[in-house]
Symmetry: C2
């Protein structure tokens, strides 16, 4: 499997073609960051400023951002900036001292979750959250077996990389991690989706058991972001969750992608499916770019872990993290961004579906709220069209609209704008995509 | 081994004694954070504001901070706050777009390191840095065997916890992690220290080999902070590094504690020892509280890892991380904080040594710059006195001076103030410690 990121990554072998200041900057960066350096697009962007749903390059050109879900309430949102600046000027220290800020924030966050999840541990990143979550599950269940979907990405620590098939350039996850097909709503009919997915989970649990590996958890991103974005029908995850419970396993909802209102109707992705997870992990949009993560769980699960290990995270749960986190929730509420994601997301999805009438390469438009996938195929044979997806993404970049790729083969256009994206922005995106498809096909 | 932290942690069983608003806040916190909640001191502090080397509680009382090394250039330093606020208001996004800020910062940081370490990867925390470093070493050497000191703490991810003996409440590191005695300069004579430590490293490598485990790396904090602070004689690490190299292993310098000028004479702790590490990891003081970490290494080491895995860290290497990191380096230079750490650190160490004449429980005063350890023993039998250390730390807290504990048994007072600590502050600390020792012994 070709890593998804590579499909939209700049290839340093092409650096000569660019010339000038851009070439010099790319060479400088490659020297400093070495083999780990990855940049988007065939002509990388130098971004110097952001505001709302817009990013600006060094020449002042404006790019419509339909990609970035971390600055979720909008780039450089003044309420968040002010909250950070104010708290930074007062106190930013670890949480082995009392501070009302982090208690208020913890209460507010837990208030949005099922009552059973009454303990929270703060981290700095979604990766740290999933790393801790996997260990909580393991301590509680006594098992090491984890089930993930085949193109999942859950983060970058050693443990979490093992549960992220897309991070492997060679080989794949170890035997204790079982990889199952994503609930592909384009290729499996809605009536069979829930049953098929639950069946795959059950088969993986049986397979672990046959290998003498005790089952611990299903680790799942309920919007299946890197698998290609599968959202419907709502509720299809319930049967799989039931299978997990009947095998004494835990459900870990990785809310790093679908959380904080992105899917529109609910604050958390798992709520669309009527599932109550045992552990919920948070990251990316939580601090609008300030590094914050968290893990919420039941007290008995945290107890099992803490009986064996201490856990402390220096930067996490600081007064600044709390102030920023609160400000993000404030903006989501005040600006009714969930409602916006639901309403404008539905409008955008409809307009993208309309495009498919004229563009036969669009096989499917799907998603929830502001997490939308557009599946591109070759109309002659129906096979995924990852090269076309890469072409379209770069065409859009040259038309100053930013999106990304997802899916096992990278054939799905990933549209995931800041939550303040408007219907006007949606029209701009659709017009640019219309042109790009006409030019490319 | 009793976890070190527990020695200075508030015990929730004592909550009834406190009463009033403090008791209510503690119960509220325990309910939210559960078993993972840890607070310092027998009467936890509610800190609401910080400035320079001072912290202020909810009643406005000032506490002299001789503990916190994360807000390293001083609490709420205006230059750092302004840099963060300015950049937050402009752009805070991942580094798959070009941004001059992170390139400038990367160049400045690499300019302080040995020329061989020419690649840098940014992370958000010291834990993420050490997690990545261990995997870099493993990819490059093909080995999994790691050597750490017996009371080391290197962070909180699954992989890094395995190399942190102090994080285990039950059991200990897995067989691939070998735990060796710290270079205890109090109990081993200076002439033998280098040879003894190198001998322990060699024995651990042989032991790994006998167990069929290929050696990968020595992971070392060159100030041995949680082991009890062992700094002298400078250069004692060289022999151990030579042993590691002759066994085709790598030296990972964990600079999360000694880095960024804390030890006074050099920016990096390993420089005191004349050692060139293969990998250097950074964290805590890097952003004065803003979550930043980094890993610097040789290109061929990063290449080996990147041939197998992709690595991306969403929040890391952002324009804000760069601006904050630059501001911290600015302050270290402009306010000559390394010189201050060396000069005032030496003064403080001398004054603490003078105290030992009157207080026979002080067995040893040691350290470098602003990382100072005061070893407390029972004068009758010379055995470590962890209970006395806990008493003194709490006595000082009631005298409004904040320090911590270190060492295998927690018998070492850990003194590690922000780098702006003055000789006046040093006198205040020594006077309070003098009183506390008189009262306790």
């Amino acid at each position: 499997m070709k890593p998804i990121l590579a499909l939209n990554a700049f290839d340093m072998n092409d650096v000569d073609v660019l010339g000038g200041a851009l070439e010099r900057q790319l060479r400088r960066r490659a020297k400093l960051f070495g083999a780990a350096s990855v940049l988007f697009y065939d002509r990388p962007l130098e971004i110097v400023r952001g505001e709302g749903c817009w990013l600006y390059d060094a020449d002042g050109a404006a790019y419509l951002d339909a990609y970035n879900n971390v600055p979720s309430v909008g780039h450089a949102h003044p309420h968040v900036v002010e909250a950070a600046a104010r708290q930074l000027s007062q106190l930013n220290v670890h949480n082995r001292y009392l501070h009302h800020g982090i208690l208020d924030y913890a209460e507010r966050l837990l208030g949005t979750l099922p009552a059973s999840l009454s303990n929270i541990s703060f981290t700095c990143t979604g990766s740290e959250s999933n790393d801790l979550a996997l260990r909580l599950a393991s301590s509680f269940t006594g098992g090491e077996g984890v089930i993930v979907t085949e193109a999942a990405y859950h983060g970058n620590t050693a443990l979490v990389t093992e549960t992220s098939p897309t991070s492997f350039k060679k080989g794949g996850p170890p035997p204790r991690v079982r990889v199952i097909p994503a609930p592909d709503s384009y290729r499996v009919s809605p009536e069979l989706l829930s049953e098929t997915f639950a069946g795959n989970v059950a088969a993986a649990i049986a397979d672990l058991s046959n290998s003498g590996i005790r089952f611990s958890a299903l680790l799942i991103d309920s919007i299946f972001s890197s698998d290609g974005i599968f959202a419907d029908p709502p509720g299809f995850l319930r049967a799989a969750a039931d299978v997990v419970r009947s095998a004494q396993g835990l459900v870990i909802a990785d809310e790093v992608q679908p959380g904080f209102g992105r899917t529109g109707a609910s604050l958390w992705g798992f709520q669309r499916h009527g599932v109550t997870p045992d552990i919920v992990t948070m990251g990316k949009p939580m601090g609008n770019g300030y590094p914050i993560g968290a893990v919420a769980t039941r007290p008995e699960i945290l107890d099992a872990f803490c009986a064996r290990y201490g856990y402390f995270n220096t930067y996490a749960g600081s007064p600044v993290a709390a102030a920023v986190g609160q400000a993000v929730l404030d903006v989501i509420e005040r600006e009714q961004l969930m409602d916006n994601a639901e309403r404008v997301g539905a409008y955008l999805k409809q307009r993208l579906s309309d495009l498919s009438v004229r563009h036969r390469h669009i096989a499917d438009v799907r998603g929830a709220g502001f997490y939308i996938g557009v599946e591109l195929v070759d109309p002659l044979d129906g096979l995924p069209a990852p090269d076309l997806a890469a072409t379209i993404i770069n065409q859009l970049r040259h038309r100053r609209v930013l999106i990304g790729a997802a899916g096992r083969s990278g054939s799905v256009l990933k549209i995931r704008p800041p939550l303040c994206f408007s219907t006007v922005n949606a029209d701009q995106l659709v017009a640019a995509l219309d042109e790009a498809l006409a030019a490319a096909c």
